[in-house]
């Protein structure tokens, strides 16, 4: 037999859970602009979303937040804390600049989309993804520097004083150069009369450089690059 005490305890627990759920549900309803949530993504339930630029009606804003939220995915282990959506009307459509910030990262992820009003479709045009935790950035740089070809290019072009950029390369792009997985691009750029760019595609899971590119190689087509193990 189930004792009355146990029944009371179960009822109390159910009431408590329902109360919490109702509270959060109401809060979410009050903030209609909160993004739709994908359980697989690292989205914080209460990410702050700000709009700027062209005034949009509530329905369009909600629709855009929902669509954008499904498209922007942070780097593994990172959650976006704030999202700025800058809109510019282009006839019936809207050009969107979406900047996603994480408290854990120095730089943001930036996406450019076009939202087609008639079809209510969101199309990604370009992205620049630098919201990468500092330790992951440093790790990618050190892994890039482990590559002998990179080490030589750095040394011969005096790139040691240049701060590299570290950017996320999405699987659909990475597939063309290595495998369909998230990779990191570590790039040293020396702007001068004869700019020098050395970029390394790093597989963060394997901890190694998988491709090396330099504008010097492109300019010296036909030159042999030797690799030895």
């Amino acid at each position: 037999m189930i004792s009355a005490k146990k029944i009371v305890a179960v009822i109390a627990a159910v009431v408590a859970v329902a109360a919490v759920a109702t509270y959060f549900g109401l809060t979410a309803l009050e903030n209609e602009l909160k993004p739709a949530h994908d359980l697989d993504s690292d989205f914080d339930l209460f990410m702050d979303v700000e709009f700027s630029g062209t005034e949009l009606n509530e329905e369009t804003r909600t629709q855009i937040v929902s669509e954008v939220s499904a498209e922007v995915i942070p780097y593994k282990g990172v959650k976006y804390d704030k999202m700025n959506i800058s809109t510019m009307r282009n006839g019936e459509d809207h050009d969107l600049r979406v900047t996603c910030f994480s408290d854990a990262c120095e730089y943001p992820d930036v996406y450019d989309f076009t939202y087609y009003g008639a079809s209510k479709q969101l199309v990604q045009n370009r992205y620049l993804l630098e919201a990468i935790p500092p330790n992951e950035r440093a790790k990618a740089i050190s892994e890039a520097l482990q590559n002998e070809e990179v080490a030589n290019l750095m040394r011969t072009n005096s790139l040691e004083s240049v701060m590299p950029t570290v950017r996320r390369v999405l699987p659909e792009t990475a597939e063309k150069f290595y495998l369909p997985k998230t990779l990191l691009s570590v790039t040293w750029t020396w702007f001068g009369e004869n700019p020098v760019v050395v970029s390394v595609l790093v597989d963060p899971d394997e901890g190694k450089a998988v491709e090396v590119w330099s504008n010097l190689e492109v300019e010296n087509k036909g030159g042999e690059m030797e690799k030895n193990e």
Binding site: S161, T173, F177
Partner: protein
Amino acid sequence: MRKEEAKALVVLMAFLLGVFSVAAVAGQAAPPQPVLNLGAVVVGLEAGVAGQASSPQLAPEEASEQSEEEQQADYKILHISPKHDWFELKPGGEKEFAVKVKNKDEETVSTSPRIEVQPFGEYFLEEDWITVEPGSAEIKAGEEQEYTVTVKIPEDAEIGDYSAQVVFTNDTMPTPYPAPFPMYVNSLMLSIHVWEPPKIVVQPQYIHDRVEAGQRQEYEIQLENKGDKAIAISPEIGGEERWYGPFENTIPEDWLTIDAPAKVEANSKATVRVTVNVPVDAKGRYEGSINLNIDDPSIERWNQEMHMHIEVWKQPTTPYREDFTVKQGEKFSVVVTARQHAYDRYGGGAEEKEEPSFDVALIQATLGGGKLTPEPSKTVKKGEVSLGMDYLPPWEASSEGMYQVMSTEYSETYEITNATGGVWTLEILPRNAESFEYTIEIGE
């Protein structure tokens, strides 16, 4: 025969005997072995010093009868491809490559490849690190022989540069001076850099910052040990091998404090903290190096250095002054501009910079020493934005067209209409600016 005549005869015979004896001893001591067109001195040196007779060796009378051209041509020249090769291998690494040897002569040439280790260089390789197949070959006139050269670096080889010659014939290069070792004509020169990825990674390797005089700035250098053994470090001020010191304006040692652990544990990270205390009276650019003294043979010694470049600045307390003359009733304007570059993201802890601003005053004698401190009639913020299209790696093409700020320019315009004629003095006190420009425009 008289006694005197007999004495003279004995002396003469003794003299002649002495001369012949000296000649005979001299002849035995240095048998002439002429090498091509070299003189007797070189021959003697080469035979005595190098201990090797160069081939071909000619009898003295043959050498003397030949013309210089004939002598120079009297060794076999093979066309060897490649003639030089340079590559990198890790300890335990192996590389195999083909060498083509073509006989352009009219006679068959016997080749028996062997390894000659150069008596110079940082490290000496062992002959058995390199094998050449086939071990010998007769190359007929006009024909080509392909050899396979295999280089195997032992696991315990030291990191460094090695060189050797793969010698196909014994023909040596004639030199107009005594050569300390033979230079083989028909050879392949090999340079091998034995390397290993450093077990320790240093980031950053360069600190470039702008520090206000009288301020203190701390920088962190991260060291990551990827190996399975702890690596000792002992950072100290100094070490100017890589950065071509000594520097014109070296960072004084008493400005720097280094706080570092004694070692970096296996598969872990450590932080070296460098604090720069800039005295109030310092100014200008200072450079220096910190030698991390990392006990890791795989890291080149110049890669152990961290370079520092500190620009010391001081907020000016007195304004810049410039005089100019204006006619009575004229209008004039002053534009002051400062620029900040995006590349001023200094290593070792970048901070957001404050925007430049200016305190501008105008003085005219008739104002009785008073100053006009006009408000700017116009402020302009001008940016240079790149679309990043020029030098993007192929895997960053998705960001093509994204805007990136390269530099930002701030300017303030001050206008005076119906000015009092005479000499005016412009005073500009810049704030948060590395440099500034001004334009004084007089008249319409």
